[in-house]
């Protein structure tokens, strides 16, 4: 049997063991917000959480990512590509929905002729140890986007919280190897596995938000110029909250920073969001997406229309962060509902016409 048992008291032992070889990232509480950070002491690990505020994409797609550094010596410029991309990370306690976002990221960054090595290298060096989601939030809707609170794909190891202990289930070869090295883990009993299954069922039933994406793609594709977008963007502030807290948002900006006093600098990439008007502003002054309605539309279109078109996937993992943290409660669930409804009205219209 592959499944093992990890007692809650053994977390610190696990951390001590793995911290030697890996950078150990886990959810931790900082000023009231749960975020993923590099752990230095096992006491910082906070596994009893719903979901982190800032998605764990931050670990492999950091907010500030150095592309390269340079030294300026008179007229000579030297590019110092010193950054070591060969990392060994463990992302511990990640939720299955966020793990799915890693898959979306990977899919996007290796799509096409050019691959994004900055991301892919780090992703390949990262091991995901997920934890089943016993208490999904009301705003969660992972089951509507091919997800599940206990989804195993895209994880290397899945933990299930059984109260006093965790059931440890290796999934990939990488995960199995890791478990083999932790010989002090005890074997799981049939009862434990059954309990985990029950929890999974229970969690699935808890998810109350059911979204229907059946018609969404078609409706979005044919309603680019709908008045609906005006309605949707009406209350939007135009801030970057939804994008910065979204586990699937990949957009970035590239800038050069100079350290004038030491004749050096660096080119970095930082998170950017399509909600800012500067995002598409061209030097000539022309801006293809100048109005808030266009930017709002682009966001929804990108996730639920362009993404399926290009990669045959919905660009959303159903974590519900954007619903929960939107400052003006511009609820994604309502937006999708409205989009789905367009068609029905149109159908009616057509029906009337046909009669």
């Amino acid at each position: 049997m592959n499944e093992k048992i990890l007692n809650k008291s053994q977390i610190s032992k696990l951390f001590e063991t793995l911290n030697k070889d890996y950078n150990f990232f886990a959810p931790s509480k900082e000023k009231g917000n749960i975020i993923f950070k590099k752990i230095n002491d096992s006491k910082e690990i906070e596994l009893d959480y719903l979901n982190s505020k800032i998605p764990p994409k931050e670990v492999v797609f950091p907010r500030i990512d150095i592309i390269f550094e340079y030294k300026i010596n008179g007229k000579d410029i030297e590019i110092v590509n010193s950054k070591n991309l060969e990392v060994k990370n463990i992302i511990f306690g990640i939720r299955p929905c966020d793990a799915y976002s890693f898959y979306l990221f990977e899919n996007f960054f290796q799509f096409g002729k050019f691959k994004d090595e900055l991301y892919l290298k780090k992703r390949r060096g990262s091991l995901l140890i997920g934890i089943g989601c016993n208490n999904p939030r009301n705003t969660c809707f992972c089951t509507s986007v091919n997800g599940h609170p206990f989804k195993k794909e895209h994880l290397d190891i899945l933990l299930v919280d059984l109260g006093e202990k965790y059931l440890v289930e290796p999934i990939t070869e990488k995960g199995k190897d890791l478990i083999l090295n932790l010989e002090w883990l005890s074997d799981a009993t049939k009862n434990d596995i059954k309990k985990a299954k029950d929890l999974s069922k229970k969690a699935e039933l808890t998810i109350s938000t059911k979204m229907d994406f059946k018609d969404t793609f078609k409706n979005l594709d044919s309603n680019f110029n709908s008045l609906l977008w005006k309605e949707i963007s009406e209350s939007c502030l135009g801030c970057g909250t939804c994008a910065y807290l979204c586990p699937t948002c990949t957009c970035f900006d590239v800038i050069d920073e100079n350290d004038h006093y030491n004749n050096r600098g660096r080119r970095i990439r930082i998170w950017d969001t399509c909600q800012f008007c500067l995002y598409t502003l061209e030097t000539s002054g022309h801006n293809p997406r100048d109005a808030k309605i266009q930017r709002c539309r682009n966001r929804i279109m990108h996730k639920f229309c362009y993404y399926p078109k290009n990669y045959n996937l919905i660009g959303c993992v159903g974590c519900g962060r954007c619903i929960q943290f939107c400052p003006v409660n511009n609820d994604l669930r309502l937006i999708i509902e409205k989009v789905n409804k367009i068609k029905k009205e149109k159908e009616k219209e057509e029906m009337i016409l046909s009669v």
Binding site: D253, R269, C274
Partner: protein, 279 residues
Amino acid sequence: MYNSYIPMLTAIKGIVSENKVNDIKTFELSFKNEIDYDNFDYVPGQFAEISVIGKGECPIGIASAPTEKGSIKFTIKKMGTVTTGFHNCEEGDIIGVRGPFGNGWPIEKMKGKNIVIIGGGFAFSTLRSLIIYMLDKENRADYKKITVIYGNRDSGEVLYKRDLENWKTRKDIDIFLTIDRKEEGWMEKVGFVAPIVKEIAPSSDNAIAVVCGPPIMIKTSIQVLEELKFKDEQILNSLEMRMKCGIGKCGRCNIGNKYICVDGPVFSLEELKKLPNEY
């Protein structure tokens, strides 16, 4: 592994000022490493991300043709931070180049056709690349009649004067230059591009029209071309959008589900009509 975000280093070999106002210059860059040049395999119409290290990076269409060996050229107008940085550079300064990116003009598809090139103002750089490529000894036989219509605000703004004079002496290319208003000493046509196209009336038979220029010029020229019975798939267009990465990752250059930097910048009118009007 190859990291597509790291620029290759080049040095400025030559700077040519292109207009009277002196805000458009052509920079000739030669690669520091021979191997980088060998790998820099491009077709006309592609672009590269060039950077003044410390100022930033911007996408610029390649103005030289692959047939001009040894170096690459970019025609740059002084507009924002990076381009101003460029204009402050001198010969010998180091410039980073990444590329080539984008699809470029479909030179294979254009073989055996009559080519009508309509350009306006500063957007002529990738068209120059295309013309030089087609006029090359080895390639000229692949293309039939070549007609070039190139419009400018005034005579001082006309780019690539040396090339134009060179082309004028050739018999296998028809060049029509035009400026918006009459000027003393100007021997060529006067008027906007669209009416001139109408006047010349190139045949749409087995032809491909390449249109590149300011939006209003594109719009009016396309109307004229449609009058001349050009079909949507016969009209090619090069778009521009704000870009950062050039490789379809940074997200900002999308029109609908297409990224200009990898799926473009060249689109036929037929393809463009399928995309949302957001450019």
